[in-house]
């Protein structure tokens, strides 16, 4: 692959703006209970932040940021978080994915379900972010250009 020379303005602006995009992604994930948002949208915004670094920089820089071999394992981890929450609820006596059986003491049943929804959204966001980055790496990675 031929070496890309990015303009210093693009480098600077992308480095400046990426943390704020990530912060906004986390806001969208964790504010999904009270406004428009949730795991899918927040995961897509996080993936946008990672992909911005990937578009601008060379492989030796973005491999430090998010290793391209981490995409598939992180996606599997997201699916396993989702499945594990449901499985814990099933082991503790409820139905599969019945969050009111999660072992959280001191909360009402509705609050336990709210927390279960939050954990699920984190798993979804994890999987969506990792899979989108993995798709980009596989389709447009350094050897494929």
């Amino acid at each position: 692959m031929q070496h890309r020379i990015a303009s210093p303005i693009i480098l600077l602006v992308s480095r400046f703006i990426t943390p704020y995009i990530m912060l906004y992604g986390f806001y969208v994930i964790f504010h999904g209970h009270y406004g428009p948002g949730g795991g899918f949208q927040g995961g897509a915004i996080l993936a946008a932040a990672v992909l911005l670094i990937r578009i601008v920089n060379d492989p030796e820089v973005y491999e430090i940021h998010f290793k391209s071999s981490f995409g598939i394992p992180f996606g599997a981890a997201g699916v396993l978080i989702f499945f594990g929450i449901g499985f814990i609820a099933m082991v503790l006596g409820g139905n599969f994915l019945d969050y009111s059986y999660l072992p959280l003491v001191g909360l009402t049943q509705a609050d336990v379900r709210s927390t279960g929804i939050l954990l699920i959204e984190i798993g979804v966001a994890f999987a969506v972010m990792a899979i989108l980055v993995s798709l980009y790496d596989n389709l447009l990675g350094e050897e494929n250009v």
Partner: protein
Amino acid sequence: MKYFNYLIIIAFGAMLIYASLGLPQRGPASEVASQETSIAGTVLPSAYYIKNAYRDANTPNMVTVVLADYRSIDTLGEEVVIFTAGLICYMLLWRKRKNAA
């Protein structure tokens, strides 16, 4: 062959326009999907979701509750679909990446 393709598209458009004449109007509360019970007398799921989502999960956003609580198996299957798509993409292209490296 080209005219046949145009014919397919025109027939498709005519079919869609004809079908849209039978669709319900957009918006009025008398529409079937906005009712509380269906024609058969059972409670429609969207009415149940609107009434009970906040009480059941203490979460104001009904879309989140429907997505992650009432229809969580649906979401789990859909996340597995995303993961499978990423895995397929990786398995289709990793051998070439290794050869090129």
